[in-house]
């Protein structure tokens, strides 16, 4: 379990002070795939780098299984780092070492005997689907393959936690998906706790069970993925979740947002039109799969006449469809 308590980080320069993190509190349970999402410059990368103390926090505590990383000795910190592995946006493989030797590096650092570490490295490379590329060099591999090597290297010392710092941001959507699938598989088979930092909604949606939204150095919202993503409370969260998605192009109008989950079997829109006898113009609709369930939202303009609005509301209440009235200005 990782507990982050009152974490703060300020970068001190000779000329200026930059606050990167302010009062961060977060608990990551064993086996979680925890997503941390935020816009560029929000501090998410600094946060994940604090978890293995690549960045030294200015204030607060980082507890891993109850042990405060800021207080342990250097030797102990190195031991802990072997159990808290990390992968990066730029893969950070050694260019002058073969794929196999790159993975073995982690074993060399941990003083695993040569035969044993070679065997283990080969096994891990097979796990990540690169059993054929042992003697290739990183420059010969695609981005996705390089990240797989980095994952194999990270798994070499049997870590309990894997930190992913924008690990898929340099990859195309298809490759991103395959890397995320791999992470999901490792989470299940090894009970590996995974922390994913990303600015991409799709990445978090695809694999995480919990999410924290970070904005202007602070965590504005966190919790189960569906709770946060379907009903974001804070302005910052809404901005991130709906950014670039909903754009009605009208101002000062009232809209209705319907939210439904996979439980609803009936054709809602058709039923509204037929049963309430009102016409709807849909401005936005989407559906997505979160944690195996389908969720969706539809946004349409609020009917003009009072009686139509009443009919609509009572119909929705009767059928248990969640809805809310929104201003066009509130849509992002």
């Amino acid at each position: 379990m990782i507990e982050i308590k009152k974490l703060g980080k300020t970068f001190d320069d000779a000329t200026s002070k930059t606050v990167a993190l302010k009062n961060i509190n977060l608990t990551i349970e064993d086996g979680d795939i925890y997503g941390i999402i935020g816009l560029s410059g929000a501090g998410k990368s600094t946060l994940v780098r604090c978890i293995n103390l690549l960045e030294k926090p200015t204030t607060g505590e980082i507890l891993i299984d109850g042990e405060d990383l800021c207080k342990v000795s250097k030797d102990r910190l190195r031991e802990i780092r072997k159990k808290v592995a990390m992968i990066f946006q730029s893969f950070n493989l050694l260019q002058q070492r073969s794929v196999l030797k790159n993975v073995e590096l982690a074993g060399e650092i941990n003083n695993i005997p040569p035969e044993e570490r070679k065997e283990k490295a080969i096994k891990l490379l097979k796990t990540v689907g690169l059993g054929e590329k042992l003697d290739s060099y990183p420059a010969q591999l695609s981005g996705g393959q390089q990240q797989r090597v980095a994952i194999a290297r990270a798994l070499m010392n049997d870590p309990k936690v894997l930190l992913c710092d924008e690990a898929t941001s340099a990859l195309d959507p298809e490759t991103t998906r395959s890397i995320l699938e791999l992470l999901k598989k490792l989470n299940k088979s090894l009970n590996l706790t995974i922390v994913i930092i990303s600015h991409q909604m799709s990445v978090i949606e695809e694999v995480c069970n919990k999410v924290a939204i970070i904005d202007k150095s602070q965590i504005v919202e966190n919790g189960n993925l569906q709770d946060v993503f379907l009903k974001p409370q804070s302005e910052a969260a809404k901005k991130i979740i709906y950014s670039g998605r909903v754009s009605t192009g009208v101002k000062g109008e009232k809209f209705v947002k319907l939210m439904f989950d996979g439980e609803i079997q009936q054709p809602i829109i058709t039923n509204i039109i037929q049963e309430c006898n009102i016409l709807l113009s849909i401005y936005y609709a989407e559906s997505k799969v979160i944690a195996g369930k389908t969720y969706g939202q539809i946004i349409f303009r609020l009917p003009y006449y009072e009686e139509d609005i009443d009919k609509l509301k009572s119909y929705l209440a009767k059928n248990g469809v969640a809805c809310e009235e929104v201003d066009s200005d509130d849509l992002y």
Binding site: L54, Q96, I109
Partner: protein, 223 residues
């Protein structure tokens, strides 16, 4: 001038250059590693040590080589029996002259290793020593080897000072032999043979170094 004279001079130059380069690296490489690793963004920042080594290297680099040769004479005499007059008497001053240069070359090469790779090793729990041995030096090897070629060629140039202490070698031979025959030395074949040998040695070091570096570089796709 006989064929033997030319052979001896070539041997002296090669010995001076190769041994001085090795000695300069013996001291310069650790200094370069210290300069890189103790710098502000290094593996183990340490301001006072970085400043200390930096200042020593700068001072040594700013004293002209000829002065260093004079300054080193007492030590050379104490350690090797004679202070001048044999090819090996130039080794100590040459090492002192060149190791600061080597330190800066090494520092520069190590800077080319991306910070992310070092960070990855840190995240794996590597000690500072492991990072230097397993990441910094191997990853910088291409640049380090081409650096050796540059240093060796410079040291070959420095061997012209051998003339001043009678340490021999190709360059002093050219100088001593032909300053006596003013006028038409441009027409003597020995002059051009000596020049050709010097050019050939420089070519050999430079191209050989680059070839080796290229061969060891795994960054380029081998497909």
């Amino acid at each position: 001038m006989t064929f033997i004279d030319i052979l001896v001079a070539t041997g002296e130059t090669l010995l001076m250059t190769i041994l001085s380069t090795i000695l300069a690296y013996l001291f310069g490489l650790p200094c370069g590693i210290v300069l890189n690793t103790t710098s502000k963004n290094g593996v183990k920042p340490c301001k006072w040590l970085n400043n200390l080594v930096g200042v020593v290297v700068n001072i040594l680099r700013s004293i002209p080589c000829l002065i260093i040769i004079v300054l080193c004479m007492p030590w050379t005499r104490a350690w090797l029996g004679i202070g001048s007059g044999a090819w090996y008497t130039i080794l100590i001053p040459m090492t002192v002259c060149a190791f600061g240069f080597v330190a800066r070359m090494v520092e520069q090469s190590l800077m080319e290793v991306p910070a992310g790779v070092i960070e990855a090793a840190k995240a794996l729990g590597a000690t500072d020593f492991q990072i230097i041995k397993k990441v910094l030096l191997p990853e910088a090897r291409v640049s380090l080897i081409s650096g050796v070629a540059v240093v060796a060629v410079s040291i070959l140039g420095y061997t012209s000072f051998a003339y001043n202490i009678g340490a021999g070698g190709l360059i002093s031979t050219v100088y001593t032999y032909f300053t006596r025959h003013t006028g038409d030395y441009m027409k003597s074949w020995e002059f051009w043979v000596l020049i050709a040998i010097i050019v050939a040695i420089v070519q050999l070091i430079q191209e050989g170094g680059l070839l080796l570096a290229k061969k060891l570089d795994k960054r380029k796709s081998l497909k």
